[in-house]
Structures are given as C-alpha cells and as structure tokens.
C-alpha cells in the first residue's frame, strides 16, 4: 500500500548512507513496510542498493548470508544439504513471489515468532554481524538477537550486515517439524533439531516469542525431551496470537520436539 507519510526515498550505497535521519527507516526487499500503514515513517532508505554479495563461503566450510540475501537466493546457496533451508523457506507464510524479494535480514529484523529465517539461522548456530554507528561491528548469536515478539537487539544507528553460519553445524544432520492452523498457513510451532557430536540441539520458534535453544543428550527419553522443552519454553513464555492459542501451541511443540529428537537419534543409530 502507499505509505502516505513518506516524503523521501533514497538508496544506501555505502556505510555513510546507512546513517538514518529522523523519520527514516531502512527498507529491505520484501517489503513488509509496505504491507501496513507506517504513520511514523517519513523517509525510506533502500538497503538493497548496497549490493552486498548474497552469500559468501567462510573458512571452515561455513556460510555468510548477507542481510540482503533473498530467501530465494538463500534456498539456492551452496549448502552441504539444502533440505533444511528449503523447508524453512516453505514454512514461511509468504509465497514464492515474495520469497524472490524478501530478505534473510528483513526476516531477522522483523523478529516475528514465525520468522523461519530466524529459525533456520538460530538452529544452525548462526551469529549476526551488526554494523555499529562508530564504524565497527559486533556479533551475537541469532537466538540472542531476537528479544521478544517483534523486538530485536538493534540499537539506534545499528544495521544488520549479515548472519554467519559455522561449518560444523551445516554438516550435521537436521530434522524439522511444524504445526500450523492451516497446512500452508503461518507457523504456530516450528521445531528444528540438529545432531551435534554429543547432543541433539533443539531450536523452538513460532510458539515462543523468541527462539528457545536447548541441547539434550541423545539418550534422553521422549518423556524427558517433552519435559525439558516444556520447561525451557515455559520459562520463556508460550506465545499466543490469532495463529494459535498458547495451550495448543505448547502441546504441539513438545510433541514435535520429541519426534525431532527421536528422528535424529534413530537416524544416527
């Protein structure tokens, strides 16, 4: 929709250009900003004009996804196995048409519980690289970057530059389970598991306001997995919105977590 209060539109071509004036907002690819009225926004700064490489290999077999890497480009990145990225992209409510424009960084910065790029990068032990206003950068785990539903750890003047995924996590076996009120609707619970050397690392999103990550021993019983997930998510608080009530989401999450755990343990056996 038209953003009727916006009076300026400019591309950001360098770090200096990313400095926002009062009323300006960074615009990524998707664009969610145009999907709701934005009465507080008077200027748009197009981040895609930075022309960052969508993805780059990292030493040790890792992968760096630029904030402006589109979901479609992320699907096609050189994953050791592309399945998890594809399934996360499919978990998004948005159609393939939006995926060709929407960005990984935009998904992270929106901080929505159902943000499947948050789920993907948190589950793969990702680390955000944030450009700070003093010209430096700082890093934080994706799971810590999202603070609450729609709230992320970006201070004034900071810009999400990229998310880095370490090599070992990319090579580990993974499993994904998802619940939603309709088959292709917005995720109400999303559980991703990753089999590390000595643990099953479960990442829960969509049913909690921020990602919950917990490492459980492979030997854990299904009941113990359920209890552990219930306790960890319960401590964070279950999320409720029109995409699902909290009690149902909680039940789905613990059930899916047990399935994911079992799949990864049995798959390794």
């Amino acid at each position: 929709m038209d953003l009727t209060h916006v009076e300026t539109y400019r591309g950001a071509h360098d770090r200096e250009g990313l400095r926002l004036r009062p009323g300006e907002r960074l615009l990524a690819g998707g664009t969610w900003l145009f999907s709701e009225p934005q009465p507080q926004v008077t200027g748009l700064v197009d981040l895609t004009a930075m022309h960052w490489e969508p993805w780059e290999p990292l030493p040790g077999g890792g992968l760096r996804l630029a904030a402006t890497c589109t979901v479609q480009q992320a699907r096609a990145a050189p994953w050791p196995s592309p399945t998890l990225a594809e399934r996360c992209a499919d978990a998004l409510l948005m159609s393939f048409k939006v995926q060709s424009a929407a960005t990984v960084g935009g998904n992270l910065c929106l901080g929505l519980p159902a943000g499947a790029m948050i789920a993907l990068t948190a589950a793969l032990d990702g680390e955000v690289v944030v450009w700070t206003p003093d010209g430096a950068e700082r890093r934080a785990p994706v799971a810590d970057f999202v603070l609450d539903a729609g709230v992320v750890d970006l201070r004034p003047g900071e810009v999400l530059r990229s998310v880095e995924l370490p090599g070992p996590a990319l090579r580990q076996a993974s499993a994904l389970r998802r619940a939603a009120l309709t088959t292709h609707g917005r995720s109400a619970a999303l559980v991703i598991g990753r089999r590390s050397a000595d643990a099953v690392v479960l990442t829960v999103t969509a049913s909690v306001p921020r990602p919950v990550v917990l490492a459980l021993p492979p030997t854990e019983t299904a009941a113990a997995v359920r209890d552990a997930v219930a306790a960890a998510c319960g401590a964070t608080g279950w999320f409720a919105d029109p995409h699902g009530a909290a009690d149902w989401r909680a039940a789905q999450t613990v059930g899916l977590a047990a399935e994911v755990h079992a799949e990864l343990v049995e798959g390794a056996a």
Partner: protein
C-alpha cells in the same frame, strides 16, 4: 517504467507502491485485494519476475519492464495461459483472475500449461474466494470445461471471459483517476461514545483537502444499511454520520481531498473528542436488565426495533402443537447448544464507489453493489431527492456473498458530491475501502448461539423440535431481523414434526455490525439442527440418511416453523429424496477408506438443507430485449453480475429463444438509467427472477419475430424487434442440498482432513452445468473455510484479525475436491424448470463435517470454526 511495452513518463511518489503507480498510469489490470502482499490480485512481472505490486516500492520499478495481465494478451489474441483460464471457466467474479494469470504465466510452459508438483505450495499467494479452486486447477492443467456456443443446458463460457483474463473488464473503480477526489474516514476508537466536539481545523489546512464532513453535516434521517425490496424489512437505526458511535471503527468524519494520501494525512489530524459510554459485547448480557442500551433513545415503531429497551432488534416466539408433551412422550431425546463465529465475506474486491453530479443535475453513483435500484431508492430518501434524480450503476462486481446487499460507501460519496456540486465543484468523489476496513467496519456474518432439543419415537420419527437462537447483530440492526427469521425458517420447516417451538432473538451489542452473508442465517441454524439430528440418529440406532428420510417434508406437506404454515412457498419440484440417495451412494462408493497414517481416525457425516428459491414478499425484475436488423440482441436487465454467472445464463436464455449464437447477445445490466426496476442480485434470484423476466422478454421478441416471418425477415424490418418481460417473484419454490463427507481426524494436532466430499443438489433443470458446478464448489469452499479455519476474532469489540495475514481465507491447498451430483427434477416455476443454486451449497457443509468428526473421534464439536486447536482440545475432553 515500461508498462506493458510502453514507456510511461514521470516518477512515483517516495512512499508509493508499484500497484498504485501502475494504476495512476492507466494500468487497471492490477487489482487491490489486500494491499499487503497476501492475495496476489495485483501480481505483475517485474523484468519477468512475478511480484506483488502492492508491496513492491514503485521506485524499484523505475526504468524497468512491468507486465500486467493486459500486457500478456488481448481479448482477440489471448496468451496461452489466458486461453486456458477462459477454456476452463476458471473464474466467477474475475477480480482475482489477472493476478492468477500473471502468476501462472511466470511458471507456465510455452503451451500455457503449468506443470508444478505442488500447486498448493506454489499458489498459496493467490486467493480466490469464488471458485473453490477446482476450475483454476483445471486451467493450470489445461482442462477445457466450457464451450463458446450452445443454448440452455450447455456449459457456455461467460461472455466476459476474454476481457477478465486480460485485465480489461472494468470493475467499479477501474476508471481514469484524473481529477478524482478521494475520501478518507475518521473512525471511532471507542466501542460506545458520544461525539462531543470535532475540530477539523488542522485537517482543512492540509493542502488538497476540499471538504470535511462531520456529524453536523449529516442528513437527519435514520435508515438501514441493509437493502431489501421492502425497505420496512430493516430497522431504521443508522445515521450517515452519527453523534453517537456504537462500535470501534464506526465512521465519524469524512475527509475529501485531491489525493488519497492527502485525505489520509488530513484524517489523522481531525481532532474528535468523545464522551465514552458503557459498552456491552456479550449478546446474553446485552439483553439482560441493566445493560447499556445501544438504541434506547429510538422509537420502536418508527425505527422498527422490537424492543429498544432490551437491545432486542427482532424476536420470534411461537409454538405449534405441544412441545412439552412431545418431548415427554418421546422414546429418544437429544439436546445441545451450538455456536458459530464471525465470518468475513472476503470478496476480493473491497467496497468502493465513485459519485458525481451530471450535467443535467443527476446524482450518479458508480458502486460495487448487488442492488443498484435499492441503493438508488434509499439514497434518494436519505438525501431528499426524487429517485429519478439519482442514477446508480454497478460494473461487474468483484465478489459479494451478501456483503454488497448493503449501503456502506454510496451514502458518503453521494453526500460529498452533492455538497461540492452546490459550490460548483463537480469533480467525482471516490471512496475505496481498505482490506482492514473490510474486517473492522463492514458487516460480517452473524455469530449465533443455537440450542436444539429434539424428541423422537422409537422408530426415529420426530415428536418435538425446540430451537432457541440468540443472534449477535452488533451495533446496528441492518440485516439482523431478516437473517434471524430466514435462519429459523427453512432449517425448521424442512422437517415434519407435530410439535415445534422456536424462540429467536437478534440482539444489539457494541461489536462490529453483522450483516447478510451467503445462506442468510441458515448456515448457523442448520449447523445446530443437523448436528442434533445426527445425534438423534445415533440414539435411535439408524443411519443419519434414514433418519432424514423418515422426517423430511414431501410435496403436500405444510411448511411450518412456529406458527401458521408458510403460504407463499410451494413445491415447484422436489428432489430431496434423490439427493439423499445420491449422496449416500456416492460416499458408500469410496469405502473402505484407510486412515492417512497411524494416529488418524476416520469418520463419515452428512447433513441437508432446504432453501426457498426466492426471498419472501416480492422480488421484481424487468427485462427489455431489442433484436436489431443486423441480428444482434441487446438485453437490458437491472440485476448485477457478481460472479454468480447470471450474465451467462441470461445470454443463453436469449440465444436459445431467438436461435442466435451467444456472441450475438449483448447484455446491459445493473444500471438504473438503462433498464426497468430490479430488486437486485440477492436471495439467489439472478437466474430465477431476472432470468424469468429475460426469458419472457425473449419469448415476446420470438412471437413478434415469428409473426414477421422469422429471423430471415429481420433484415427487412425498419427498426429493432422489441420485447419486454417482468417477474414479481411472487411464486416461490424450494431447493435442496445434501452434503456428505468422510474425514480423517488427527487428535494429536487437531487436524481435520476431508478425504471425500460429495454434494447432491436439487437445482431443477441445469441451465449451465459448468457454472452450476462452480457455484456448488465455491459455496462448499466458503463453507469449509467457516467450518474449519475462518474466524474474525473480536475481543471487547476490537477486531484482532484485520487482514488476510491473520484471517485464514482458504488457499488452494485448503479446499478439498467435491463431487457434485445433480438430482433429476424439473421445476414448475423457474426458467426452463431451473431453480436457484448459489447460496444453498454453503449451508449443509459445516454440520456434515462436524458429524463426521463426531463419528471419527466419538466427541461432538459444538463450535465453529472447528480449528485445529479446538479439535485438539475437544478430543482431550477439554472445553473449546
């Protein structure tokens, strides 16, 4: 930007989206369905890549190639994909179609076929509310369903097809935008408040603002937004801009400006001061003593409100026979209470209208309405003008489902246009609803609580029926009385029972208003009654089909609710027995069914519904046909085409009667200036009332033509051969639908999966088989939505589901295939023996699914929607 091959000059505004830039450049093929990237109606190719133009910044398209459906082909030279959509008959209203065509084009092979493994995933970003998606799947696959020629009984293609698929069919607001003024509405943040003061100073100073209308500018006339043939059917409780607001989102002030952006910016600056009043949101609490009164100051008789002192807008209490005895002496009794939630029509085209004053002083209103003549008459009344000084025109309507049987935008643009014309400013004034306004300020389906108690003898013959209904009409009465009376009518009258009692009340609350919705109350009440009957069949120990066979009315039976039998309804034909047999056999034919996986339970269920083919108390239509010497027939008829397919049927009727090819028939419809009076397209009347008028007019032309010596003599006539026909809808028949389903239920997740879906319909003689199938499939799809996933969530009068992102309109992957079976009947009243069949398919679906869920899991659902969270709770023994 290079738009459909042509370089367009200029640059977009900084905050402009591509959709509005394209439209400002004359590209009206892109439609606004949601304006938030969820529905796909505005899809374009940007350098060959499909994007939702409503969420694409216009600046990104500068210098690039933008292709809309209009750029892919022309009506004369369709692209392969466009041809597929025409040949499959893959649209009804056609508003979403250009977006589908563009999206499919991005994925199609050279021959137009879309070969994707999972269309459910690929097309989740394209919504269609009319078709139920089967015909769209056919278009993607290249299946041909329609023919160019043929008369009654053939699947003739909709005349508008080539224009619709190329984005050239002009919907209401697809007109040039130059010099048009735009309205933005200031809406109440309070559920109940008195407007104490309005300061419009800051708004009037915004450049481009030309008019600000406040409650002080409103005509002091009470009316109803609901429109019926008899305006006395609906309560006069609404003022154009009122000094009391009764729901969150009610309009308070209208700002008119030279651009939509200026109007919106100015609207934000209007300072309204309110005195907040106590509010009530629960209909039971609302009718209890001491509740805040919504319309307590109004005169009950003058406004036609049953009891303003109890917030009751309409009530019926009555009994025939002795229900207490019938229940006491019954061998079996069942009792339960069922609720249904708020549902949105979700027509892809939002409400919109444009008004201006013509050179001769006529007020012209072009609007997306099902009822142009009724809108004209009420506008004339509200604005104090003679009806012949008001002209209302409807273009092709982008979906209605009852939502456009209301006066919701026309009054504001008309008032503004008249005020401006008084000052010599004759620019058109336009108001286009946002999708959010559609969810928060436009009437929704009435939520109802229905209690049913049934008694039966040992063989399962009903001895008593007791039905109690509480309907939440929200802040205004509009369709509340009609929906309540209709809801308890055919649902109860279809059963033969010596003792019946119905107590129903429609109650005001400070929730958003409820209104007319496909089925008009039957869906909610049928859900309860058919669920109770299913339980009764279990008690008696017979199949639900047999229980119905023992109790349904047959020709000769009186049609009784809670008083004297209905006298203006007759069995023009009867196919309910066939429908029961057809549905039962079809479902049995797919046994044995296997669960999809471990942890799933399977169940079967059925339900029926009866519907009158025409609303009561008159429904009028006039048709005029002029057969020119060149052999083309021009048909003028007042009803509106909103995806119901009447334009096709009327064309077929004329082509058949006069022996013409359908492409020689031209239809001029839904314009109060060009045809005789028509009550409008509601109550499923487009074929059986307007169609009958058209058929009679065609018969007259035929008689005159034959007197001249037949078609060959036509060339020798001086002018056209003219015939007229009318229909008053005075004689009404009944139609029937039986739905049967097999579902799989997964208690752990609450998922209900429809494995088999059958609907048997008694539509009389089928005039256009493909269109009939489409109407049934579309009705079933809408019903599957209300049964399983759709709900407008309202908390303390505040709507929480404010767009397609939170409101779960069924996507392609959410709608099961439904087999449509047709009873062999010929109606004594309808055109060529046909009966109406557009609302009716909706009504029996939710109870059929609920009964199947009960069969699968052993617990009965009582609440709609049967969403996964609710079914999960239900199977765990919890409360929904």
């Amino acid at each position: 930007m290079i738009l459909d091959g042509d370089e367009v000059p200029g640059a977009p505004a900084p905050g402009q989206c591509l959709r509005t830039w394209i439209r400002a450049c004359g590209g009206t093929a892109v439609k606004k369905g949601c304006d938030s990237g969820d529905c796909g109606a505005c899809t374009v190719l940007l350098d060959g890549v499909p994007v939702h133009s409503c969420i694409t910044p216009a600046a990104r398209a500068a210098g690039r190639a933008v292709t809309t459906a209009a750029g892919l082909g022309t009506p004369e030279e369709l692209s392969p994909v466009q041809r597929r959509f025409v040949e499959a008959g893959a649209f009804q209203c056609g508003f979403c179609t250009p977006g589908w065509v563009v999206t499919a084009t991005a994925l199609a092979d050279a021959d137009g076929t879309v070969r994707v493994a999972d269309p459910e995933r690929v097309f989740k970003g394209n919504l269609c509310r009319c078709t139920g998606y089967r015909s769209i799947r056919d278009a993607l696959a290249g299946t041909v369903n329609v023919t160019a020629g043929g008369g009654v009984g053939c699947s003739v293609a909709a005349p508008a097809g080539p224009r619709v698929v190329t984005g050239r069919e002009a919907f209401t607001l697809d007109l040039p935008d130059t010099g048009v003024l735009h309205v933005a509405l200031v809406r109440s943040p309070h559920a109940h408040a008195r407007v104490v003061a309005v300061d419009r100073g800051a708004a009037e100073e915004v450049p481009g603002v030309v008019l600000v209308l406040t409650p002080a500018d409103s005509p002091d006339v009470l009316y109803s937004t609901a429109r019926h043939e008899n305006r006395l059917d609906d309560p006069d409780d609404t003022r154009l801009l009122d000094e009391v607001v009764r729901f969150r989102g009610q309009r308070v002030v209208a700002v008119v400006a030279e651009s939509a952006a200026a109007a919106q910016r100015a609207a934000a600056l209007v300072d309204v001061r309110y005195e907040v009043l106590p509010a009530v949101f629960d209909p039971e609490a609302s009718r209890a003593p001491g509740a805040p009164l919504l319309h307590g100051e109004k005169d009950a008789a003058a406004s036609r409100i049953a009891d303003p002192a109890r917030n009751v807008v309409a009530a019926t209490h009555g009994e025939v026979g002795d229900v207490a005895t019938g229940l006491r002496t019954a061998a079996h009794t069942v009792r339960g209470t069922w609720t249904s939630g708020r549902v949105a029509h979700a027509a892809l085209e939002t409400h919109g209208a444009r008004a201006w004053v013509d050179d001769d002083g006529t007020l012209v209103v072009r609007t997306s309405t099902q009822v142009p003549f009724l809108v004209r008459d009420e506008l004339a009344r509200v604005l104090g003008r003679a009806p012949d000084r008001v002209r209302v025109v409807a273009a092709r309507v982008g979906g209605g489902f009852g939502g456009k049987q209301e006066l919701l935008v026309e009054d504001v643009v008309a008032l503004a246009a008249l005020r401006l014309a008084e000052r010599g400013d004759r620019r058109p004034v336009q108001l286009e609803m946002t999708r959010e306004e559609q969810f928060t300020a436009i009437p929704l389906r009435h939520p109802m609580r229905v209690t049913v108690e049934l008694g039966a003898d040992a063989e399962g013959r009903l001895t008593a029926m007791r039905v109690e209904v509480l309907s939440d009409t929200g802040a205004y009465g509009n369709h509340g009385p009609g929906v309540m009376f209709h809801g308890v009518h055919e649902s109860v009258a279809v059963y033969r029972c010596p003792a019946k009692r119905v107590d129903a009340e429609a109650v005001y609350t400070n929730n958003p208003p409820s209104g007319a919705f496909r089925g008009y109350g039957l869906g909610q009440v049928v859900f309860a009654i058919e669920s109770a009957l299913d339980e009764l069949a279990r008690e008696v120990g017979i199949t639900p089909f047999d229980l119905r066979r023992r109790n349904v009315v047959v020709p000769g039976d009186p049609l009784v609710v809670n008083g004297p039998p209905t006298t203006d309804l007759e069995f023009g034909s009867y196919g309910l027995d066939q429908c029961l047999d057809l549905a039962e056999a079809a479902l049995a034919g797919t046994r044995p069914a296997v669960p999809p996986a471990e942890g799933w339970a399977i169940g079967e269920g059925m339900a029926l519904a009866m519907i009158a083919t025409i609303p009561p108390r008159g429904h009028h239509s006039h048709a005029r046909i002029a057969l020119s010497p060149d052999g083309t027939a021009t048909v003028a008829v007042g009803t509106a085409e909103f995806g119901n397919g009447t334009a096709t049927v009327h064309t077929q009727l004329v082509a058949q009667a006069l022996g013409l090819d359908p492409d020689r028939v031209r239809l001029i419809a839904s314009d109060t200036a060009t045809s005789g009076y028509d009550s409008g397209a509601f109550g499923s009347t487009g074929s059986v009332v307007a169609g009958l008028a058209v058929q009679r007019a065609a018969a007259e032309v035929r008689r005159r033509l034959d007197a001249l010596g037949g078609l060959p003599a036509l060339r020798r006539t001086e002018g056209p051969v003219v015939g007229t026909g009318t229909c008053d809808g005075g004689r009404r028949s009944v139609a029937f639908n039986v739905h049967a389903v097999r579902v799989a239920v997964h208690p752990a997740s609450g998922e209900v999966r429809v494995l088999d879906s059958v609907q048997a319909v008694d539509a009389g003689v089928v005039l256009n088989p493909e269109q009939l199938r489409g109407q049934v499939e579309g009705g079933v799809a809408q019903a599957v939505g209300s049964a399983l996933q759709e709900e407008v969530v309202v908390v303390d009068g505040q709507v929480r589901t404010r767009g397609f992102r939170t409101y779960r309109t069924p996507q392609l992957g959410d709608v099961p295939t439904t087999r449509v079976l047709v009873a062999d009947t010929v109606d004594a009243l309808g055109p060529h023996g046909a009966k109406s069949m557009s609302e009716a398919p909706y009504n029996p679906v939710a109870p059929a699914i609920a009964n199947a869920v009960r069969d699968a899991v052993g617990v009965r659902p009582h609440d709609l929607p049967m969403s996964r969270d609710r079914i999960w709770r239900l199977t765990r023994g919890g409360t929904p």
